[in-house]
Amino acid sequence: MILADKKTGVIVAGATGRQGLFHIRLMNEYARQVGGAGVVAGVTPGKGGQEAAGVPVYDSIRAALKEHDADASVIFVPSGAAGDSIMESAANGLSLAVAITEHIPVHDTMKALAYARLCGTTVIGPNCPGLLSPGEAKLGIMPPHLAMPGPVGVISRSGTLTYEIVDELTRAGIGQSTVVGIGGDPVIGSTFTDVLARFERDPATKAVVLVGEVGGALEQEGAASTSLPLVAYVAGVSAPPDKRMGHAGAIVEGGEGDARSKIRALEAMGVTVASRPSEIPALIRTFL
């Protein structure tokens, strides 16, 4: 398991919005189930002193940390202010910031990630479902009932497609160590390479499923960086060029980043590539 465990205390930024309230409740239901620390505080500027889904709300992360122990933030702040929230998490010494927010302007993301790096804070996302270590911790919005503990790491640029694949794995009796949704934006805090490096140091993870999409070359870079056994799936074989397929990062530009050339590059490195999500369990089983 990587990035978070039972002891990880979480601050939710953007705690009093619809998404924040809803997911504080779900995250803490899961924390109670597994005996974890869960969400200890919420933050919404100007709403200090209120309560959100049973946790106290503060005006700032600084104020929350005076009263609570926390290592991580999960960010539901609206897109215009989410970059700022990443920087606030980093400046206050949190080791991990998980940015769920979609539609953050990419210039904001680049600045916030550079700032977080100076502070030594790991960022997951933005535009991601967060992470789930089955039986340990849930930081984000993944539905935990589809998952079960086990030896396979999952790293994905998608949300629901990740759930689909986790569901396929669980139905096949293959559990997961940690499932990490790294986000669908072109610029993200942790790439396949970064998360693979953590899985490599994790004794519980025996093999990893990479779930990629059209756009960029992060999948190939990740595969080239690791010695872990990998099974990859790349969505968007049928995606036309120059059209953004839902995610800001899912676009084939200047003839680069199309699914077929990605798959060819991965196969050339010896990575097993599934042509359909349903093929993944059988392929990953050969490595366990």
Partner: protein
């Protein structure tokens, strides 16, 4: 969103980058007095597709012939798009063409500035055949300006007057929330003046509002309509309509459709919290397209309420065959509702898409 050339040049001019003397016209009457333009002018169709030069969208002609040539240019279509705007510019006596661009490098998560002496041609071609001719420097995103050394290293032995243009292009890239700001060609004239002869600027769709851009022109009417409902929608040219939740799952559904030898009519991601109303909207939107023969609804998620989704599909009541795959809460209730109204529901996306290949009896 891609800016048109004249919009890009306006951005450049504001940033202090010299641009050719020019005028945008929407009719021949707007040409007006061209005496300041000299003996020859360039007429450039402002259409939102690439490759306009090869399609006859750029004309160099004697100034006296401009009205007749502009009238003809207004009459043609380029890759299906009518020419509604023409940029009229002075003809430039070019001595040399350079290339300069700022873009975002996903791997290093920072802007990268590119410069090469080999301007005016396909930069992708140069990148493939002669990558050493392109100089590139990554800039840490916390920098508000290009450091002077970066400008010197990029420009190299090219005329020093290009330096301020490179620095200004970087500023424009930052100020305008650009994903790409490109000058190709960046020209030095016979008299030594430096000008941006073309402009390509792509603004981050997530920053359109704060850039004061109301409507994303890159979207078709139907795509814009879908966006107002909070859907991500892309039109394709097949006959299977697709409603999914989440970009990755929806893409994977399209791929599976192709895998089964069928062709998808669209990509439609309804987003999170697919409730009755949103599902009904999405299904109706697809059904309104005459090409769509079958609609596949593929929804997965812990918080998707299957009974709500079923009611949305029933409420839409479209004429086309609707095949449903969903998983979430209240699955049994959802299935019962769909069966009752004669809709098909499957447990896996493979079987759902596979069902579309069979003719229903």
């Amino acid at each position: 969103m891609k800016l048109r050339e004249y919009e890009g040049k306006r951005v450049f001019a504001e940033a202090g980058i010299p641009v050719p003397m020019g005028r945008v016209i929407r009719s021949v009457e707007e040409l007006g007095d061209l005496s300041a333009f000299g003996e020859e002018v360039v007429l450039k169709a402002q259409v939102d597709v690439g490759g306009r030069g090869k399609a006859g969208g750029v004309i160099i002609c004697p100034t006296a012939e401009a009205p007749a040539r502009a009238a003809a240019l207004f009459g043609i279509t380029i890759k299906g798009l009518p020419v509604t705007e023409i940029l009229v510019e002075e003809r430039l006596p070019i001595a040399h063409e350079y290339y300069c661009a700022v873009l975002i490098d996903r791997s290093t998560r920072q802007p990268v500035v590119l410069f090469t002496e080999a301007g005016g041609v396909e930069i992708e071609e140069t990148a493939r055949t002669d990558p050493d001719r392109i100089r590139r420097i990554g800039i840490p995103p916390l920098m508000a300006e290009l450091p002077p050394f970066a400008v010197r290293d990029l420009v190299g032995r090219a005329p020093r007057a290009l330096g301020p243009v490179v620095a200004a292009l970087y500023r424009a890239f930052l100020v305008k929330d650009a994903l790409l700001a490109e000058i190709n060609p960046l020209v030095v004239l016979e008299d030594g003046r430096v000008l941006a002869a073309d402009a390509k600027v792509i603004v981050d769709d997530n920053a359109l509002a704060r850039q004061g851009i109301q409507r994303n022109r890159d979207l078709t009417e139907r795509e814009a309509e879908a966006e107002r409902h909070g859907f991500s929608y892309v039109e394709l040219d097949g006959e299977i309509g697709v409603v999914g939740n989440g970009a990755g799952l929806t893409m994977a559904t399209l791929d599976l459709i192709e895998h089964y030898g069928l062709r998808a009519a669209n990509f439609l991601d309804v987003g999170g919290g697919a409730d009755r109303e949103r599902v009904a909207h999405a299904v109706r939107l697809l059904a309104s397209s005459p090409e769509v023969r079958v609609i596949i609804v593929n929804l997965l998620g812990g918080i998707t309420r299957c009974d709500e989704v079923a009611l949305g599909i029933i409420e839409a009541g479209v004429a086309q065959r609707v095949i449903v795959r969903m998983a979430g809460t209240n699955e049994a209730e959802g299935r019962a509702l769909l069966m009752e109204h004669g809709y098909e529901m499957y447990d896996s996306m493979d079987t759902a898409v596979g069902a579309a290949t069979e003719v229903r009896t």
